[in-house]
Structure formats: structure tokens, C-alpha cells
Amino acid sequence: MNHGPAQPELRGLIAEFENEEAIVAATQKTVDAGYHHIETYTPYPLDELLDIQHLHKNKVALVILIGGLTGCAVGFFMQYFASVIHYPINVGGRPLNSWPAFIPVMFECTVLFASFSALIGMMVMNKLPRPNHPLFDIERFRYATQDRFFLCIEAEDPYFEKDATRQFLEELNPHEVNEVEA
């Protein structure tokens, strides 16, 4: 098969495996070989892959924490502004800055901001929403939602060299190896 004169840029190489054990073993070998920019696609979540790829830590947690703390501060200053600066009303002789009464709203704002940070942070980091993906051009990739397991080594990986990486993947006994075009 000829790619023609203007060869499209390569996004990565993707290998297809037939079962759980094969993809776990292959991912382990790939990580051991030094590849970092890898993705796995499986029909159901595999905890082992999370461990191998060190995906238990994710940066969304930090985004949520910052979002939550921001919400807490916003909740406080919103009420402070309303009851101390904008509409200072004496309620039963209590101080204008009645912070104990502010706590429920501060808590709710913390939860609100944290939830939105979680959702938006997750979307941004996963580059979502994304209606199409180069992987969908690969004919067999649709089996990733059925009974096949895919491992993709991305071209941005420093160890990535088209031929060497292809050979490396072939040695892992995949069903087949495909090129993903950008």
C-alpha cells in the first residue's frame, strides 16, 4: 500500500490483543522498555493497567482541591460583601460579620465549585468533547468496545521510532499492528 507523495504525519502505532492477559503483559513490557506516552483501550476497566501505567495519580484531584478552596473563599466573601458592606443590617444584636451563619453557604459553594472543577478539569485534560478521533479511522478499532484490547504507543514519545517501535510491538505477539495517522 502506497501513501502517495504527501505522507501524512504519524500519530502513533496501535497493536491489537485478543485477551486481558496479553494486553497486561504487553503493557508491562512496553512500560519496562521506557515508553511513557502510551494509551490502552479496553472494553472494560482493568485495574492492572492503571497500576502499570501509574494512572492512579491524576492531576484532576489538584484542580478539584483548588476549585473547592476557591469556592469556599467566594462563598465567604459573597456573604461578607452582602451583610457587612452592601446591606449592613443589625439582626438581634449579632455582629455584621456573623461567620458561623456563613458556613453552610461556604460549604455549598465549596461543593459547587469543586464539582464544576472536576467536570471541567476532566474534560479539558481529556481534550473533550471531541466528536472524532484519528483512531476511529482504523477499521478494527471498533472492537475496542466489544472484545479486543488495544495498546497505542504515541509518536510524541521520546523513544518512538517508526520502524523500531513497530518491530517492538510485533514481538509482543499482537493480533495486528496498525499505524494511526494524525
Binding site: 492512579h56 484531584a61 458561623p100 451563619a101
Partner: protein, 401 residues
């Protein structure tokens, strides 16, 4: 895997005798000190604090067992025997209640007939707050708790030998109503034992607050014990990072609940600002007690909350156990904060008794926990849910290897 190993048996034995020695020395030392300083009421207050800590942890352990039998889950299976050992101390706690009965006059203002005679509020409450009814209620709580714990331990042991699946159904039949009855009895026990030290004041939330406070302490106790027991078979294979993560998450949940309860009660009383409700807080924000209040909220909630947010810390037993000790220490401050200001409303007062007597009582209680723990296999045998658990654990550990 039927009985515990002889190394562990001996290790438990030596810790046990140390716990008992330290416990008896501290409690008797406290008693002598109280005699010498003529401060028996100080002794009884400290004893009440220690008693509430031990009883609270014991009762919440029983509630955890009931929940575990009802809803299952891997978090409860590994600790089932530890929880059973803890709840087997209920008859001991009944005996340990005797000093509180002896010290009633020092602890409970409402037992003084001459005070009640000139106090319309206490007269109004006299049909509930009187000595005979107080004793009958306490006896009733213990009767219910001891029967429930006795049945649950008996059937759990029977399951070890027979493996009869009907035993689990039997346990569940006790646990369903048991959870409700536990919540009610512990609520009223908290009203009677702790809340009535300030007989004018009342809070309907108080019982739940005590359950939640004790829940945090009980989980800390579980984490501390499992960090030790995971070095031994068969716990070592079952108490992995996932289980500690579970207990850490529960500890975080109870830390949040603790603050939720504290704030709910405070906010309602603060907002209403009624003279019959607010003295309790007025005592706790004046005369030095405000320092204890602030330290308590900072340590038990703010610091504990941020420490427990970290996933790696929850998954690492040696780091989680430090948080657990911290929370357990704060629980002592917490119960002290609940009891002591009622006796020293004028200003902050703490004596050596407030430290040594609760720790001593804890030592004695711990002796009886270990006494039960070493006699049974550390993991329930032939439980219908066991195979499923071992399968999932071995599967994930193979993948990690």
C-alpha cells in the same frame, strides 16, 4: 489457619499484661492521688471521660459488625474478629460502670434532692432524671447490648466449625433491628451519662454526635490494630493497601461528619440564642476553654481532614496509623471538652487525673479486647462470603506482582 500462630499468641500475651499493668497502675495511682489531694470529684470526671471513650469505641464496633453483616463489603471482613473482640468487652464495661454509680453525687447535679427542691427546671425533669430510673435505664442498655453481642459472637464462632449458611441469616435478623436499637440506646446512654452532667441543658443531636465522635475513634483503633496485625498471617494477605484505603476513606467520612455534627448543634444554638440553650457554649468560649475549642476544631477537623485527603497516605499503613493516633488523642480532648467545662464553667482547669485515668482505663479495656482476640482465629472461617474475598484479593495481588 484455624488458630492464631504461637508467635502472635505470645506477642499478644505480653502486650496484654503490659496494658493491664499500666492500666491498673494509672487508675489506682489516679485514685490515690485523688484521695491525697481530696479531689474525688476530679477522679470521677476523668473516669467518666475514659469510660465514655472505651464504651463509645466498643459500641460503635458493635454497630460496624451489624452493618457489615447487613451490607457486606470487603472493608469489614478482615476486621470482623477485631470488632467482635472489642464488643466482647461489654460485660466488663458493665462492671466498670460501678465507679460511676459510686460517684453519681459528684458527677450528676440532679441527684442532690436539696438542689432539685429549689430548681423548677430540675423538678420538671425529675420524672426522667432520678436515680432509680437512671440505674434501670443503664441496666436496660447493657442487657440489650450484651445479649446482641453475645448472640453475634456465638453464631460467628459456630460458623467457623459448621459453615452453616443459615447462621448468616440468623445474624442478619438480629442486625437489622439491632442497628436501629443501637442508635436509640446509644443516644439515650449519651443523654444519661454525659449530657446530664449539665442537667439544664439539652440537645437532641447529642446522641448522634457521640456516635459519630466514637466512630472516628473506633476507626482509628481499627487502623492502629490492623497496622500491627497485618504483619501476621492470615491478616497479612488480606489487609492490603486497598483495605487501608477503605478504612482511611471511612475515617475521612467520619472526620467530615464530626464537623457536621459539631457545626449543626452550634449553629442552631448560636442562631436561636436562647437562654436555656446557650450557657453550654458560653462556658466553652470563655475563661480559657475557647483555646480548647479552637484547638479541637483545628486538630480534629482541619488538620485531620487535609491529612486524610491524600490518597497515598490512606494507602500506606505506616503513614495512616500516625493520623489514627492523632485522631485518637484528639478524641480524648474531644470527650474532655464535652465533660470538663460542665464542672469548671468559670475557667479552664485540667489536672493530671484527666490524662492518666482515661489512659489507664483504656489499658484495662484493651487487656480484655486482646484476651478475646487471641482465643479465636483472626479471620472468620467458612463464611460464605470468604471465598469471594480471597479470590478477588489474590487476583489483584497476582496482577501487581
Amino acid at each position: 489457619m484455624t488458630a492464631i500462630s504461637s508467635t502472635l499468641f505470645n506477642q499478644i500475651g505480653s502486650i496484654q499484661s503490659r496494658a493491664l499493668t499500666i492500666g491498673v497502675i494509672l487508675v489506682l495511682g489516679g485514685l490515690l492521688y485523688a484521695f491525697a489531694m481530696d479531689d474525688m470529684s476530679g477522679f470521677y470526671q476523668a473516669y467518666l471521660v475514659g469510660y465514655m471513650i472505651c464504651a463509645g469505641i466498643t459500641l460503635v464496633c458493635m454497630a460496624f459488625i451489624m452493618l457489615h453483616h447487613l451490607i457486606g463489603g470487603r472493608w469489614g471482613f478482615v476486621i470482623q474478629r477485631l470488632l467482635e473482640a472489642a464488643m466482647s468487652t461489654l460485660p466488663v464495661l458493665l462492671v466498670l460502670f460501678i465507679p460511676i454509680v459510686l460517684g453519681m453525687h459528684d458527677l450528676y447535679h440532679w441527684t442532690h434532692a436539696e438542689v432539685v427542691a429549689v430548681d423548677p427546671i430540675l423538678q420538671h425533669k425529675a420524672s426522667y432524671l432520678n436515680v432509680p430510673f437512671f440505674l434501670v435505664r443503664t441496666a436496660g442498655y447493657f442487657a440489650i447490648w450484651i445479649i446482641a453481642s453475645f448472640l453475634l459472637i456465638k453464631w460467628s464462632r459456630a460458623q467457623d466449625t459448621s459453615g452453616d449458611p443459615r447462621l448468616l441469616d440468623k445474624m442478619r435478623n438480629v442486625c437489622g433491628p439491632g442497628v436501629v436499637i443501637f442508635a436509640l440506646t446509644m443516644t439515650f446512654a449519651s443523654f444519661d451519662w454525659i449530657m446530664s452532667t449539665d442537667p439544664h441543658w439539652f440537645s437532641t443531636l447529642y446522641g448522634v454526635m457521640m456516635i459519630v465522635n466514637s466512630g472516628g475513634a473506633a476507626l482509628s483503633f481499627i487502623v492502629i490494630m490492623m497496622t500491627w496485625l497485618r504483619k501476621h498471617e492470615p491478616i497479612s494477605g488480606l489487609a492490603d493497601a486497598d483495605r487501608f484505603h477503605d478504612w482511611g476513606k471511612l475515617l475521612l467520612a467520619f472526620t467530615l461528619l464530626w464537623f457536621y455534627m459539631m457545626l449543626s448543634q452550634f449553629l442552631i444554638i448560636w442562631a436561636a440564642n436562647l437562654p436555656e440553650e446557650n450557657p453550654w457554649y458560653v462556658h466553652r468560649v470563655h475563661g480559657g476553654w475557647e483555646v480548647v475549642s479552637v484547638v479541637l476544631v483545628l486538630c480534629r477537623f482541619v488538620i485531620a481532614f487535609f491529612l486524610l485527603l491524600s490518597i497515598p497516605r490512606k494507602r500506606d499503613p505506616s503513614r495512616l496509623v500516625r493520623v489514627a493516633w492523632f485522631i485518637l488523642a484528639m478524641h480524648l480532648v474531644d470527650i474532655f471538652w464535652h465533660v470538663a467545662p460542665n464542672f469548671h464553667p468559670g475557667g479552664f482547669a485540667v489536672s493530671v487525673l484527666d490524662v492518666i485515668v482515661p489512659i489507664g482505663l483504656g489499658g484495662i479495656w484493651f487487656y480484655f479486647v486482646l484476651n478475646r482476640l487471641k482465643r479465636n482465629p483472626l479471620i472468620p472461617q467458612k463464611d460464605p462470603r470468604f471465598e469471594e474475598l480471597v479470590e478477588s484479593v489474590s487476583k489483584s495481588s497476582v496482577a501487581k506482582a
